[in-house]
């Protein structure tokens, strides 16, 4: 791509960087992963033999707040990518940190939600709704957690002497793709699981 790049850019037959290609292939496969989990949830949620049922336990206001925070973390993530692409390391670090913090708040909300559900008698094995719900949102939460570690590793990398400059923007760019994907999965989950009656 760019001639000014300090990092060795291998020539590839596709004309795109292999790392970015890898991330997109991975995300395409993740669509199937979450697609099946969401389908399972939609089919199973109405087949519960015992309560508590979704409409009795969901706290839409709390979930909307954490949805909003995850959405805004996508904004700070894209600004981190912008900053690294425009050679503004301080802004990049600040935005990465902000994204990490918002990711952690989202996870905190999920931990609270799970504990609350468990407290009112909705364990993992309580009914088909709870089993498919915990597996779906739990795997999403796991992805957010992995994303948080991913971004922390970038942040640590950026503090090193020849850290994340403009020439290595692709590392932040690919991390951003992952983070945004986790966000769009939540957009779907929020609508299909929480909002639709």
């Amino acid at each position: 791509m760019s001639a000014a790049s300090h990092e060795v850019q291998h020539h590839t037959t596709t004309g795109v960087d292999n790392r970015k290609m890898l991330m997109w292939v991975f995300l395409a496969s993740e669509c199937l992963f979450f697609g099946t989990l969401i389908s399972t949830y939609l089919i199973f949620k109405g087949q519960s033999l015992v309560g508590p049922l979704p409409e009795e336990v969901f706290d839409i206001v709390l979930t909307s707040a954490s949805t909003f925070i995850l959405l805004m973390s996508s904004l700070s993530m894209v600004l981190a990518v912008y900053a690294v692409q425009h050679g503004r390391p301080t802004m990049m670090k600040a935005m990465l940190l902000l994204t990490i913090v918002m990711g952690l708040i989202f996870l905190g909300g999920q931990v609270y939600e799970f504990r609350h559900f468990n407290h009112i008698g909705l364990g993992l094995g309580q009914n088909q709704f709870s089993a498919s719900f915990y597996v779906l949102t739990g795997f999403h939460g796991l992805h957010v957690g992995v994303g948080v570690f991913y971004l922390i590793s970038l942040l640590i990398g950026s503090t090193r002497r020849n850290g994340l400059g403009k020439d290595r923007a692709l590392w932040v760019d690919t991390a951003g793709l992952y983070w945004h994907f986790v966000d769009i999965v939540w957009i779907v989950i929020f609508t299909l699981v929480y909002l639709i009656p």
Binding site: C31, L32, F34, P52, L79, N127, A169
Partner: protein
């Protein structure tokens, strides 16, 4: 924030400015608020609501993919890859829903839960469950045309010329356990069964597709099924 000389640059990054990114973020937030308002504040028909919500979240999805993940400006190869995954996932969703959706639509949602009367009965039955076991009739009163709940002691009812407890041991215990604590099937004890009577009546009568629970309506009358429901809901094992 001064403007970068983006135009002079080689196409190394998308042309979006900070201001535009923030604007996109605000638009995404507004759409989320609208979704929430549609669900909470307006009394829309379920069908309309579902269509609106799916449309709005699709818009959000598309905005993030196109502008935050830069697919609009990036190599079309990425777009094709991602679309491939999405289309496959969508097909799986459609296929699975087509195969299994009907199950609970018919048996559970419509029969037991969709009517306001059933929800009210649920609340009444819920209050009734705690404390006394001797008055199941209150829980069953909202069951018009189903024979009503048997009066008196639910443990003394007779199903197919058998005391209900004996019938349970002969026909249900293999899956639900002799002590009703659940084996293959779920536990059937008063504290676990918190749904309205209609729900369990429906389960026993029509079975539960996708599970080992068979339909009993060919063998059992409405009265028999009612007796079983009262038995599992009100008699401690």
């Amino acid at each position: 924030m001064e403007h970068q000389q983006a135009a002079a640059h080689h196409e190394e990054h998308p042309p979006t400015t900070i201001r535009q990114y923030i604007l996109i973020g605000v638009i995404l937030a507004i759409i989320t608020v609208v979704e929430l308002a549609l669900t909470e504040a307006f009394d829309l028909e379920t069908r309309t609501l579902v269509i609106l919500l799916v449309a709005l979240s699709s818009v959000k999805f598309a905005i993030v993919v196109a502008l935050f993940m830069h697919l609009r400006f990036d190599n079309p190869l990425f777009w094709r890859l991602f679309a491939f995954g999405l289309v496959l996932a969508g097909s799986i969703l459609v296929a699975l829903l087509a195969l299994f959706w009907g199950d609970h639509q018919e048996s559970r949602t419509v029969a037991a839960y969709a009517t306001p009367g059933a929800v009210a009965a649920h609340a009444a039955a819920g209050d009734d469950d705690h404390g006394d076991e001797g008055t199941p009739a209150a829980g069953g009163e909202a069951t018009p045309g189903e024979g009503g709940a048997p009066a008196g002691d639910p443990a003394a009812a007779v199903v197919q010329d058998m005391p209900v407890g004996e019938f349970f041991q002969a026909n249900c215990a293999a899956c639900h356990g002799a002590d009703r604590q659940g084996v293959v099937g779920p536990a059937l004890t008063p504290e676990r069964l918190t749904e309205p009577d209609e729900f369990y009546h429906d389960t026993i009568a029509n079975g539960r597709t996708g599970t080992a629970m068979p339909p009993w309506s060919p063998q059992l009358s409405d009265e028999d099924i009612n007796a079983l429901v009262q038995f599992i809901k009100h008699v401690e094992p």
